[in-house]
């Protein structure tokens, strides 16, 4: 196409046509969240007692990743107003102005439909239904209703992020079992201490955007206590797979060691002044003031803890390393 300007050519230069690249659309899908979703879903799928065709399993996982990305795009479209206010989210594609809200909604809706459809084809209708529900739960229930209205937003909304291992399990087996529910509960209980640790050192960000995160609504002291309580419940519950026989010796050791360190870090947060008198407003995700370091450490470690926990399940069931814990197991 000829783009040189000719005399007398009054066509508008550029107009409203986007310069967004495919990478900008990919960023809308929250690739870091997708990574954790894929990983935990793999754990559920691999740990399931029924072996799935590997190609169909890969397509089911891909569907789940796209579904999670679709929910992320819908969330970013709806939250673009507060994303523009918060330092942490200011560089997302919509606040930067490279992708329009309408485009993000379009991407989210189309990707949602295709991912659920592909999940149904590759596995079963129950897994597809759960995927559809988790997308709906995250993008509508959490993003549109919970997030801006209650400090319990991420406690209830955490269910959306807890679905992937259950979906992976259901994709392989076709039904929801106690073990699938336990995997769901581990992520469900993990979400509050993980997210509140971040909220403690970014509470100024959330307050500016008017989001009633726990440190903003109830104060940092109450949040630190709740982080500790949720951490205790989480670490205890993380031992449940050992009791049902889902987790073997490797998982039990990982759960014990990882859980002990989790509790130690949660205790440090409880005794710290994290979230008090302002917080780190500038810089990257992990940039904090000295007083907030305990919260930052717990936030960073919690990701590793969940990863290692599910990695243990993958290694035990996917690589034949499973050895039942003597005296327990189903």
């Amino acid at each position: 196409m000829n783009t040189t300007t000719n005399p007398g050519d009054h066509r508008a230069e550029g107009g409203a046509v986007s310069t967004a690249s495919p990478r900008d659309y990919f960023d809308l899908m929250k690739p870091r969240v997708m990574t954790l979703v894929v990983f935990t879903a793999c754990a559920g799928l691999v740990a399931a007692p029924v072996a799935m065709d590997p190609v169909l399993a890969a397509i089911a996982i891909l569907s789940l990743a796209v579904g999670a990305g679709a929910a992320g795009a819908l969330n970013m479209a709806y939250d673009s107003d507060i994303d523009a206010i918060m330092q942490r989210t200011r560089k997302r594609p919509i606040p930067r102005g490279v992708v329009s809200k309408a485009d993000a909604y379009g991407l989210g809706i189309i990707a949602s439909i295709l991912s659920v459809m592909m999940m149904a084809l590759a596995s079963n209708y129950l897994a597809a239904g759960l995927l559809a529900f988790s997308i709906f739960f995250y993008s509508v229930i959490y993003s549109m209703f919970l997030k801006r209205s209650t400090p319990q937003n991420i406690v209830i909304g955490g269910a959306a992020g807890a679905f992937p291992p259950m979906i992976g399990w259901v994709a392989a087996t076709g039904h929801i079992s106690l073990d699938a529910f336990i995997l769901f509960m581990i992520i469900f209980l993990w979400t509050p201490p993980h997210t509140w640790a971040l909220a403690l050192y970014k509470c100024g960000d959330y307050a500016a955007a008017g989001i009633p995160m726990m440190p903003v609504a109830k104060g940092p002291k109450s949040t630190r206590l709740q982080i500790l309580l949720y951490s205790i419940v989480l670490v205890i519950f993380a031992g449940a797979p050992v009791l049902t026989g889902l987790g073997g010796i490797a998982y039990a050791l990982t759960s014990l060691g990882g859980g002990a360190l989790f509790l130690l870090l949660a205790w440090r947060v409880f005794n710290s002044r994290a979230g008090e008198a302002g917080s780190a407003e500038e810089g990257a995700l992990y940039a904090v003031r000295v007083g907030d370091k305990a919260a930052r450490d717990l936030f960073a470690y919690s990701i590793g803890y969940l990863t290692v926990l599910f990695a243990a399940l993958i290694i035990e069931h996917g690589f034949g390393a499973y050895m039942a814990v003597p005296g327990v197991g189903g």
Binding site: R11, E13, S18, S21
Partner: protein, 85 residues
């Protein structure tokens, strides 16, 4: 699609006293009317649009391939089950 660049736009608004088709087009652009026919793309916009087109095309190809693969595997599984009965 026919090129409508030089057509006089149909509008109920009073005539904008254009001195020619191009001037009329500029008027439309100033008013922010999304005709699409009067926008002159910058090289960056053209390159970005091309990249997006390629990405959408590849996504469609991958989607079709996945549906094909799933269908083949499913048919194979059904045949195997039928044979086992």
């Amino acid at each position: 699609m026919t090129d409508t660049k030089d057509e006089t736009p149909k509008t109920d608004a009073p005539a904008a006293t254009p001195s020619g088709p191009s001037a009329h087009a500029a008027f439309q652009a100033r008013e922010g009317l999304p005709t699409g026919e009067f926008v002159k793309l910058t090289p960056e916009q053209i390159a970005a649009r091309q990249r997006r087109n390629i990405a959408i095309g590849l996504s469609l190809v991958v989607f079709c391939a996945l549906v094909f693969v799933v269908t083949v595997i499913r048919i194979g599984q059904n045949f195997a089950e039928a044979g086992a009965v």
